[in-house]
Amino acid sequence: MEDVKRNQWVIVLVLAAFVLMVWSGYANYKRRKQSAQHQAQGTLVPETANNQSVQQDVAADEGLPNLRGKRAPDFSLRSVEGKKVSLADYKGKAVLINFWATWCAPCKIEMPWLVALRSQYAPQGFEILGVNADDPGTPRSKLAKFGEEQGLNYPLLVGDDAMSRKYGGVEFLPTSYFVGRDGKIVAETAGLVSKNEVEASIKKALAAGGN
């Protein structure tokens, strides 16, 4: 009788171990799949009340922290000229927070678009903050020179880990967050998207929380 009871316990334990193994394997697979999807192409989905959940899924697929609809995390960084710049300085404006690096080829591709769009929409209250993601030791003068060479007409800020962590770690460049006038993030993209898509997000940011 004792032996039968013991064997039953053994069977239960072995079954429990098996279930645990299957579950852990599946959970691990899911995490790794999500990590691989960080490389997925960034796509913007027009924001409407109906597709908000779809947007959240897209953000997750892009490897972004899904900050849409949330207040943009505040930060204070030095510009390449050494000036202190905070997101709060742009209260009431639509802001594009664009993470870039000197070594990032797709970042260079979108820079002329950003310059043109900044010129076009600045009179309506739009600004771009270019947050650099080069090595922390990169001289500010080098970044400033790069900005001059590219003809950039918006503030270039020296990013740091603490700031990028607030925006999900920023593993891929370019990464952009579009902040509405109300301070909430209306769109986010990881990777190069078309100029039209960038412009659509700028318009959305200008419309969000407007007077």
Partner: protein, 159 residues
Amino acid sequence: MFRCAMLIFAGLAAWLQVIKDQPLPLPADNAVQFLYPAQVTIPAKRPTQIDLHFRVANGLHINSHAPTEKSLIPARLAVVEPPGLQVSAVDFPPGTDYAFQFAPKVKLSVYTGEFVLHAHVTAQPGKHVLEGGLRYQACDSNSCMPPHTIPVTVTITAQ
């Protein structure tokens, strides 16, 4: 038997905890893999070429050794010469042209798939461990990852 089952159960639970807490590798870590050789035998005291094989992960590319723009980070191999082993040069293959979807006219020079570096070495008789690192900067079709270095280790027996 009961004790044995308990031990197995405890082991599995511990293993589960380990894989749960294991940090996921960043994509840049996996972008390039050193394939082979792990060890090679060469003639002693004679200049010899060792081919180092690497593979860039599917869907990714890295800048070649000679990128088209100076701001781009080239693929570079840094090696530490142990006593008795000299590395006189490392030859990189030419890159292939690559353009991003939204800028078809902007050509980059990149490596994709498998590529081979030729290290020119001269070794004194004996066993030597050549250690180095391949530094690269990888991108996919629309975004880039920070530069990364992977270890390259080859055990060389010269006789």
